[in-house]
Amino acid sequence: MRIQLFGTCLIDTMFPETGEATVRLLRHFGVEIGYPDGQTCCGKPADSGGYSRESKKAAEHFISVFDRTEGPIIIPSGSCASMVKNHYPELFKDDERMRQKAEAIAGRTHELSQFLVHVLKVHEAGLSGTGRITYHASCQLTRELGVLEEPMLLLQSLNGAEFVDLPHSDRCCGFGGIFMAKLPEVSMALADEKVDTILSTGADTVTGCDHGCLMNIADAVKRRGSAVRVKHIAAVLAEGLK
């Protein structure tokens, strides 16, 4: 099978290891990866800020890049995947031609954990892992895409690792894209509460499917001086491939 990977601007710019982990993981399961040239950002930051002109530009560009390709589009980020799947068709609701294109793209798009479980059945193979792992259910992944079970199935299937439930796992960590910049104090307060619950589980690793949230949580973990590792789910799963 051949898929097209959208790296997301955050992974491309700040967390390339997560991109590499995604690639290793997919290849391990025999997937061939295309990485379409010219990809930039899905437009989410502009979209949630209400800058629809700019988010439309991003969407048009994304569509033009992936339009030329075939096969499933895999995105290792719940909020970017939701942007493409839910918001793109909405952005072009008054432009029939673009809306059809957006819908075609949306139909091909999968968030990474969704794809791993539903298409590759990775949880049935069961990779290996270590330590106590807990999971933060990021907002758009959980509420907009309706993906909650999939990441947990993957983590529970790790041989040698222990999965522990996070209380209020789906409560917002306070990232919220531009929210973090506009209301830093509130954002930090929410991240601190998130870290309190993470520490209460006794986990040594916290994972999730969105680098935005993980970045915010990692910052709060650092503030706390805690040794808890904050890692994207792709990295956690790829660890077992060593």
């Binding site: 601007c9 991109g19 209400g50 629809s52 307060a189 929410l190 509460e193």
Partner: protein
């Protein structure tokens, strides 16, 4: 309450609230309890079905609002009530004040009503020399504290019992206690005297029934029916969208509202008041006035924000909102707090006033998930942010950044240049840049994923 038209300083308010540990403790306990009780209570319902039905019914009313208002008025008058239409807050306040003045009344008892807060009724009545005594315990507490409500259902949610104990000792001259039963007893004794001597009572309404002209009140303390049926004069003030077609529609909301609000399966008291006391009846006000507040609603229900007015004011979205949970209601600087409050404030008080309030959401979607009538709060919040941008009401720095984003996002080469610049200039950006968020982000890498992968 701030009546000004300048922008609400949400960030400053929030920072102040965050440093108030009593507030944060009280908020955490209360919202946690309500959220858990709500989840338990709705588990027993065919929730999705009920939400869908309730949402459709509310939408049907909004789509035919003026007919329903007319029908309600006709039937309320037929039942013996006097109905007044108020196009805005000022008109509503004026109507209520003159009814009271015509009767020579200088002191009224009042049960909880968010619409009365919306029109700033208490301040106005005070100005014209009429004393208002709040009789809902939470409202009574914040009234003697000189504050406004910080939750639409639980007005004193931000106070813990020690603070209430101190407040009572200070303002009412009783002995300090933080036992809720003792404190309730103190208030009860005072309020009982007020009920018995009151010449008029003011209430809001949870619903108004078009078919019968009745108003419906959900209360937990029984003070609502004391205010509405003990004094000879009763004035109910409500906004027009509270109308439902018939009594047969009520059970849906009886099942949804208390469960969504406080996690109760039903409220302690449910009053259906139809007109004034008739000959031969032994209870009820002799004279009943109903003030129907429009305040922009009849226009708003025909536009893109229509669905906001499906709201039944249960407060579930407040309890679920992560931002509300840590900063409390006063930080919103307006009558209605939380996610529904952001939208209503922008609609009722204007974009200029609400422009920074629109940032008080992470758009996490928790509010939309719990809303019993499916108000699409995240979509409305996002839409308002779009209108804010169109009206040029976002900060200049942000506008420039977004314009820059728009220029590079469709040009991969420029986008990549931006990434390189991010890496190179990061130390400087961190030092001199807009700080807060940047300081909490890792430095952009020197070789992007794309370069490593290619």
């Amino acid at each position: 309450m701030n009546h000004s038209t300048s922008s609400i300083p949400f960030r400053e308010n929030a920072v102040k609230a965050l440093s108030n540990s009593a507030l944060r403790g009280a908020m955490r306990n209360a919202t946690e309890t309500f959220a858990i009780k709500r989840a338990d209570a709705v588990a027993a319902l065919p929730l999705e079905e009920l939400r869908e039905e309730a949402s459709e019914l509310r939408l049907h009313v909004l789509n035919n609002l003026s007919e329903y208002v007319d029908r309600f008025e006709m039937n309320a008058v037929r039942a013996g009530a006097k109905v007044h239409r108020a196009k805005d807050s000022e008109a509503a306040r004026g109507i209520i004040a003159s009814i009271l003045q015509d009767h020579g009344i200088g002191r009224v008892v009042k049960s909880k009503s968010m619409v009365s807060e919306e029109i700033h009724l208490n301040d106005y009545l005070q100005e014209v020399g009429i004393t208002v005594v709040e009789t809902d315990l939470g409202e009574y507490i914040i009234q003697i504290a000189g504050e406004g409500p910080s939750h639409i259902i639980v007005p004193a949610i931000h106070k813990d019992r020690r603070q209430v104990g101190q407040l009572f000792a200070e303002k009412l001259g009783c002995e300090y206690s933080d036992d809720p039963a003792v404190l309730t007893g103190v208030a009860k004794k005072i309020l009982r005297e007020e009920f018995l001597s009151a010449k008029a009572g003011i209430s809001g309404a949870n619903f108004a029934v078009a078919e019968s002209g009745s108003i419906v009140l959900f209360t937990n303390e029984g003070n609502g029916r004391m205010c509405t049926s003990l004094p000879p004069l009763h004035i109910a003030v409500l906004s027009i969208e509270k109308i439902i077609p018939s009594l047969a529609d009520l059970p849906k909301f009886i099942r949804l509202l208390p469960r969504s609000a406080t996690g109760q399966t039903i409220t302690s008291y449910l009053s259906v008041l139809t007109g004034s006391r008739k000959p031969g009846e032994s209870t009820g006000a002799q004279e009943m006035h109903i003030v129907l507040l429009d305040n922009g609603r009849s226009e708003l229900v025909s536009g893109e924000y229509r669905e906001m007015f499906k709201c039944i004011r249960c407060g579930a979205c407040l309890n679920a909102c992560p931002v509300y949970r840590v900063v409390g209601g006063h930080a919103y600087g307006s009558t209605y707090p939380g996610p529904m409050g952001i939208v209503l404030t922008a609609l009722l008080e204007g974009m200029e006033r609400a422009k920074s309030l629109l940032d008080a959401t992470t758009l996490c979607g928790a509010c939309g998930d719990v809303c019993p009538v499916k108000v699409p709060l995240p979509r409305l919040l996002r839409l308002l942010r779009e209108r804010r941008v169109e009206q040029g009401l976002t900060p200049r720095l942000e506008q420039n950044a977004m314009a820059g984003f728009g220029r590079v996002v469709e040009k991969p080469f420029l986008f990549h240049l931006g990434q390189i610049a991010g890496h190179v200039f990061w130390p400087a950006v961190k030092k001199f840049g807009p700080g807060d968020a940047v300081g909490r982000m890792p430095r952009p890498v020197s070789r992007t994923f794309r370069e490593r992968f290619a």
